[in-house]
Amino acid sequence: MMYRLPQREGEWIDRTRSLAFTFEGVRYEGFAGDTITSALSAAGVMILGRSFKYHRPRGILSFANHDVNAIFQVGPVPNVRGDVTPLADGMEVLAVNTVGGLQSDRAQWIDRLGRFLPVGFYYKAFNSKRFFPRWERLIRNLSGLGQISVDAPRLQTPKRYAFCDVLVIGGGVAGEAAARAAAATGAKVMLVDESTRVSAHSADGVDVLTSSYVAGVYADRWAAVIEPHRMTKVRAGAIVFATGAIEQPIAFHNNDLPGIVMAGAAQRLLQRHSIAVGRKVLVVTTHRAGYEAAVALLDAGLSIAHIVELNSTSVAPDLSSLLIQRGVKVVVGDAPIEAERNAEGCVAAVHFAGERIDCDAVLMSGGWAAAAQLLLQAGGKTAFDDAAQMHLPSELPAGCFVSGAINGLFNAEAACMEGRTAGRAAAEFASATVPPSGSSIIARSSSPVAPSPHRRQDPRGKDFIDFDEDLQVKDIENAIHEGFDSIELLKRYTTVGMGPSQGKHSNLNAARILAGKRGLSMDQVGLTTARPMYHPVPMKHLAGRGFTPERATPIAPRHSDAGAVWMLAGNWRRPEYYMREGESREQCIAGEVAVVRNSVGLIDVGTLGKIEVHGPDAGAFLDRAYAGRYSDLKVGMTRYGLLLDEAGTIVDDGVVARLHEESFYFTTTTGGSAGVYRDLLRLNALWGLNCSLVNVTGHRAAFNLAGPRSRDLLSAMTSVNLNDGAFPYLGVREGIVGAANARLLRVGFVGELGYEIHVPHSHAQRVWDGLVEQGRKFDLRLFGVEAQRVLRLEKGHFIIGQDTDGLTNPFEAQAGWAVRMQKPFFIGQRSLRLLERRGPRQLLVGFEIENAVPALKECHLAIDNGEIAGRVTSVTYSNTLGKTIGLAMIKPSLAVLGTKLTFRVTDGSTVTATVCPTPFFDHDNQRQKFGVAA
């Protein structure tokens, strides 16, 4: 059983500050500076969790943030890593993955079924189509670790960008030396370490982030540093990977009993938290580190029962004789067979070939795996070093350096020297104006380590190789036998390395088994790809504040005041319609439509893209970019603009106005504005014409004042002569509206006399207010997007993206009139020649139905002889016309005036419509051209 020692020098706990907490409902106390795991250990709690598959009781393994067994539920937070999470007063800690509590876990029966659950078991069982759903429910309910609370709030976490010359990952001896050496050259240095304490500090000129880890290293030395309460994204000039090495377990039966820990875990518990792992400690080792741990524990007054080294000759004869002198029994060339459990389920003894050794704690030291994951992510390579028995860096990408245990150096002095060299080299790389092409691996001294720790198997017991996933040696072997004999297939079939610790203490041993079974070298076997995250990262850290750009026209507050019901349009919100007391949505929309037809309405169209093109070649540019011709457009006039892609597909439309000989002003759709502008910039760069583009989308507001009374209303606010003769249909004029410099476009999207009024953003509210004020005498109403859709549909105008789709060309949309095929060149022209010859695959037609058909909606299909023959793209009941009207994209044989179309609505019934000419309303466009008497 573990226990707390009296105060020791250098301990990381503050014994003056007690913290009370509960675990599984039982109250305990720890100290400030404890982690959840250390506090529980100090309290003698040996069983911290239940294993993933077999629900075996588990305790500390690594005490290094790799332990799936020390993962807890803390309040609403699932999967809290107890090894590193600081203890807090009042914490309520629960074990995860239990059914009915840690001690009496009702799922522990699974352990006894172990021999019937071979690797791949789930693939081989339950595969009846009929019964699988039932099994699956059972499996699902047993799976998973922590529990989430669906009531938990969204947590906003800041993120920040940071920059440094040298980023040092790992604050051990090597990392600290590297950081200090780099800082001494004047470099801006950042050091990141998982521990709460490191010896480097800001006084050394080093920006130190403790309790933090690098979750991933991405392209161009871009590192995700996870701090307790935020993520910092660091761009580093150079990186020193001093990430150390991860101690590996030794496989023997019941090697997962509580009390059996890594040698390093015992040392960390002792040095940081003054916790003794037991009163009678057995060390099982293949590496010098086992001896070093024994010495450390002995120095702290613990009793070492035995040291058993698996190698036939000792790797540390000096320490071995030292320990023998101090009365420790050292056995070389023996291996543990099985651990025996006591009444509490913890380790009580270990059986070897020769003897049975009583103990209440076992230290395992099965060699090391370089913590090279981040280096590999950065593009580094490793090769297996037979002498060191670990993968060591073999290729470093530009600006990346290594030092310390990751490079096979376990000697503090050597690691320190190497760290200094790496730190200086990194600083030099970061400051070089022309960076050296690559960095070389610094020569390392090899550190003798024993060969693979796998010694014997026995079908009766469980010898774990992956403590996350409850995988035994035989699972790996069986999978290889079944043909899953490459490292990646082995991983996928057995799930080795796929648990929360991502193979930190299992991948190396699995590779060893595979190499042994297939007679390959470790390098031939290789390792699975190292991918982020190094340690798991909460989504709140990754999400940060979750900024979502939102755009608003200057009129937005007015819309809200007027009762706007909003709809999304890209990153804009637009009024769908304006809610009126006591009126339904349909009534509101119908009212808005009616006022435009009968008097005057006002809509905010500020979301339209607005672009200017200036210069001697401005007309030529538009001629090449758009399907229509603009070089012959008269100054003061506008023309419809249709934008195609190279395949001849419609991508956008708008109105092009010629303000002056060399200046055009044109609009794009709301959704297309940013993309169209960017695309036109590219074409301008490509063609090299003498013109410049200016995007004023956000800088100009725009309203459409439409209806028979629009001229009467506007004339009161402007000096511009609005008479048809002076300002005809499709004209554009510049002048003062209210007090603002305005551009007035006489366009007719809604089919009435109307003016688009474009004014600078800062004047928009005043002009709008003025129009509304003047409009009172004409019963002006604001109208929203829905009313505009009805109005334009009555005029038969299509909406790109609704009435057209990603394959529609202008001929199919019946917009051939907007295309000037005889121009020398325009985007899409060559494809249109081809498409014109081929003929349309579909055609956009108008249809009408005499009565109201609320069931008929957009995207209902046209059915012809049982086959799909097209679809409704727009439909509405027109109060103006007293019938249902719409547009449909249908096969050409049906696109003949008078043809009866059959549409199928949601419930499967059909509706008959008649193909009819468009516009549906005011067929020869008299109203928009000349207005009507009100």
């Binding site: 392209a219 161009d220 871009w222 910039l681 590219r682 090299g688 494809s831």
Partner: protein, 90 residues
């Protein structure tokens, strides 16, 4: 995150840029056959390698050319579009 050196704005992360694919030479629309035109419109040289690409620095609207090895996602060179036209004339 990957970095690109914009010839106008300097080194910036790739999130500041928009990508518009490979620089492709348009065949003479009046002289080419339909299959040649369709090849230009749709087909791409999808194999990895060093390609000349269109990139736009979004905030400034500045288009430039990057030569990038798509196999390694390594930017080899970036330069203004004018240089592309010079290359074409030469």
């Amino acid at each position: 995150m990957k970095q690109l050196r914009c010839p106008l704005n300097g080194v910036r992360p790739v999130s500041e840029f928009a990508y518009a694919g490979e620089v492709r030479d348009m065949p003479d629309p009046d002289a080419c056959t339909d299959p040649q035109w369709a090849d230009y419109v749709f087909n791409r040289s999808g194999v990895p390698g060093v390609k000349r690409e269109w990139w736009c620095h979004i905030a400034s609207g500045y288009w430039f050319i990057a030569e990038r090895d798509t196999a390694r996602d390594a930017v080899i060179d970036t330069y203004p579009v004018e240089k592309l036209r010079e290359v074409h004339r030469a």
